[in-house]
């Protein structure tokens, strides 16, 4: 600690500190990216892609919940809309290249997100959560009724096709690097959004909405935009997932899926950038590993236990707790 109290020095010290932190972060991110690039040679690519899709879904959700303070209980609707739209288009129009199908799915989810946002954004707290739940239930009803979704049988045999009409996505490695590229792009986008002036406003809305209003911000407009971006990314996750698995099913539209993404975000650490990614990885792995092993019949109760434990003991989630620990002991 510097002995002098010259404000300029302090400012400089803070900036210096910031730079070191940034560099540390960059290095950490770099290591993570390298790990992701190497991962398919060690782990099963389809499983990795599943994790990336859910990680993107959780990142999307966290933008709204963790950074803006809006708990949506209806995000399954966007995941499913993206998935079904992409699946339908790629199955029925062979002229479409894969990325066009994915873009169309994302676009429709975005529009749906706008509709949701306009109907729900004026509601507060639990009422907001419940309106989004209600709207998602209506979307679920629509998917059950629609012939094209295949009802509970699901939509099967969606062709992966060729990216830009060139790269064969039937190949798991090609598919994986495409999913990884999209994921990283979205992650960087969210990172930019959060650290931008716009992101700062979102955070101030979360902390103290009346204050943000009194500062002259059109709070609702900021919230709507955050909702729409979040829905778009969730839709993109759904679109990618339907291409990876070559199927789309009603599970994605069910309210349990909306609950699952909350769990992922919470376990990983809401309001942190890396949290939802870690959370999704954790939850998908736990569910998968448990459903294979001796505890096969006990997945639900164990997930319930994780919920309870997280809320009681690790409210900041894995990443949040690590950050706290680092700050306290090493900072």
């Amino acid at each position: 600690m510097s002995q002098s109290f010259n404000p300029a020095d302090i400012q400089k010290a803070i900036l210096e500190q910031q730079k070191i932190e940034d560099r540390k972060k960059m290095m950490l991110n770099g290591v993570l990216v390298l790990l992701l690039v190497a991962a398919p040679f060690v782990m099963y690519p389809v499983f990795l892609m599943k994790i990336l899709c859910f990680a993107l879904f959780a990142v999307a959700f966290n933008l709204l919940f963790g950074f803006t303070g809006l708990l949506s209980f209806g995000h399954a609707a966007f995941l499913a809309t993206g998935g079904y739209t992409t699946g339908y288009l790629l199955s029925n129009f062979s002229g479409l290249t894969t990325e066009m199908g994915i873009l169309a799915g994302t676009a429709l989810a975005t529009l749906l997100g706008l509709a949701f946002a306009l109907l729900s954004i004026r509601r507060q707290g639990i009422y907001f959560a419940m309106v989004t739940l209600a709207l998602a239930q209506l979307v679920f009803f629509f998917f059950v009724q629609s012939e094209f979704t295949g009802g509970e049988d699901g939509m099967h045999g969606i062709p992966r096709g060729h990216l830009f009409g060139l790269i064969n996505l039937e190949n798991n490695l090609n598919m994986y690097y495409f999913v990884l590229a999209v994921f990283l792009g979205c992650y960087l986008l969210v990172q930019r959004i959060v650290s931008s002036p716009y992101g700062q406003v979102l955070k101030s809305i979360k902390q103290n909405e009346p204050r943000a209003i009194s500062l002259g911000y059109n709070v609702n407009r900021y919230k709507v935009l955050a909702f729409v971006i979040s829905a778009a990314l969730a839709g993109l996750a759904g679109s990618m997932k339907s291409v990876v698995f070559q199927l789309a099913s009603l599970n994605d539209a069910h309210w349990h899926m909306s609950g699952e993404v909350i769990l992922m975000t919470l376990v990983g650490g809401m309001g942190t950038l890396l949290g939802p990614v870690v959370g999704a990885t954790f939850v998908v792995n736990v569910e998968y590993q448990l459903s294979q092993g001796a505890l096969r019949d006990w997945v639900d109760p164990i997930l319930g236990g994780i919920f309870i434990l997280t809320v009681l003991a690790f409210r900041s989630g894995i990443v949040g707790e690590i950050q706290k620990f680092v700050k306290k002991n090493l900072g």
């Binding site: 389809v46 599943k50 009724q145 509970e152 997932k241 698995f245 099913s249 599970n251 998968y288 096969r296």
Partner: protein, 404 residues
């Protein structure tokens, strides 16, 4: 390179032809994956006890086939096509699983058979009801073993119409499965000179059926048919008994009812209901002997799915033994060529569309006076011959059949 390829092909081909050659069982291990709903809606009809049935079959077979180990892996599909799909992909692509069995939810079965076709492995579906599995969704890589919606509708509907139930009111689960069943029932009813005077599609799941039962009563139809499954069916039957549907002269026909459902309902509420089943534990000495052993293991009587899992595992192992190979097409062909005669089926036959056709049974739930214990539930009224029960190949939309 070409030389290499040629050598390889010849090697594979000769291995396939040389029946009984041990080398053709990959890794000297036959690996079977049991995938089913272990914790959700369909848990009791297949679930953990289905795995027990499979293990019983392997033990009865001797634990080895042609000297090769038999290994079992198992997983909960959580009724999710995603989970099922990532599990099975890993099983067949990384863990050399040769056969995937169990399989209940239709979305799971269809997703899994797509993957098996892609990787040329074998699947035996025992739990699913959807007849589309061997129709528009047929593949050369799976077998549908126990039952499907076609004989369910066929057996029950034609019997009930012939007994004088001319006008029908159908309560349908508003789902692909319910729609298919409703369509099959309507066709059978009309073919036999009956008439469907009303259908009602209810959400899945519906906790309270009183409103729907009331409408069925008001319709004045002779027969109230339930084209749904699981908790919906048991709830509907309970409510029908409460509202006196049968007392007011209407017949109740449940199209898909498992032994576990009837056990849960009890004979008081379910008595007199007619249903079609692929198997019943108390039919003859063979079924009773096996069911007693099953009960020792699990504490319950087996459903037709449990028996089907046992029988199909046995048939599979016999085919592996006979051909000395665990190659999907070799084994499937052998299974198709061998009629199935065991405690589950008499002269069962696997057709080219993958449908295992066997006799089905029209049963009636016993009255409280007739029933001696909680599992003494059915009277078998009639045997429905295999060729009458299942969808004839002439009506098939399966490319394996139509392209011939």
């Amino acid at each position: 390179m070409t030389m290499m390829k040629k050598l390889l092909t010849t090697a594979v081909a000769s291995a396939m032809m040389a029946s009984g050659a041990q080398a053709a069982i990959s890794n000297d291990t036959v690996k079977i994956g049991y995938l089913a709903d272990m914790s959700g809606t369909y848990r009791d009809l297949a679930g953990p006890n289905g795995l027990k049935a499979m293990e019983m079959a392997i033990a009865d077979f001797g634990g080895k086939v042609n000297g090769a180990k038999i290994e079992v892996v198992s997983a909960d599909d959580r009724n999710s096509a995603d989970v099922a799909s990532s599990t099975v992909r890993r099983w067949v692509e990384n863990e050399d699983v040769d056969l995937v069995a169990g399989l209940v939810a239709s979305s799971v079965s269809i997703a899994v058979s797509d993957i098996l076709e892609e990787n040329d492995k074998l699947g035996i579906i025992s739990g699913s009801a959807a007849s589309s599995i061997t129709n528009e969704h047929c593949t050369p890589n799976h077998i549908h073993y126990v039952y499907d919606t076609y004989p369910l509708a066929n057996g029950t509907a034609s019997a009930v119409v012939k007994e004088g139930g001319k006008t029908w009111y159908i309560l349908t689960a508003d789902y692909a499965f319910g729609h298919a069943l409703e369509g099959d029932v309507s066709r059978v009813v009309e073919e036999n000179g009956g008439e469907v005077i009303g259908t009602l599609r209810h959400p899945f799941p519906t906790p309270d059926f009183s409103s729907f039962i009331l409408q069925a009563q008001a319709s004045g139809a002779d027969v109230v048919a339930l084209a749904n499954a699981g908790a919906d069916t048991t709830n509907a039957i309970n409510t029908a008994s409460e509202f006196g549907v049968t007392q007011s002269g209407q017949t109740l026909a449940a199209l898909l009812l498992f032994l576990t459902d009837v056990n849960a309902l009890g004979v008081e509420a379910a008595q007199g209901i007619q249903l079609t089943t692929g198997w019943y534990w108390d039919m003859n000495d063979d079924t009773r002997e096996w069911s007693d052993r099953f009960m020792e293991e699990t504490g319950v009587r087996p459903t037709m799915v449990h028996a089907g899992v046992y029988s199909s595992t046995m048939q599979y192992l016999k085919a592996v033994e006979a051909t000395g190979s665990d190659d999907a097409q070799t084994v499937r062909k052998q299974m198709m060529d061998t009629p199935i005669n065991d405690m589950f089926a008499t002269n069962g036959q696997i057709r080219e569309d993958g449908r295992m056709v066997h006799d089905m049974y029209l049963a009636e739930v016993k009255t409280p006076d007739e029933s001696e214990n909680e599992w003494d539930l059915y009277k078998i009224l009639r045997t429905i011959p295999a060729d009458e029960a299942y969808r004839p190949l002439s009506e098939s939309k399966c490319p394996l059949v139509t392209s011939k």
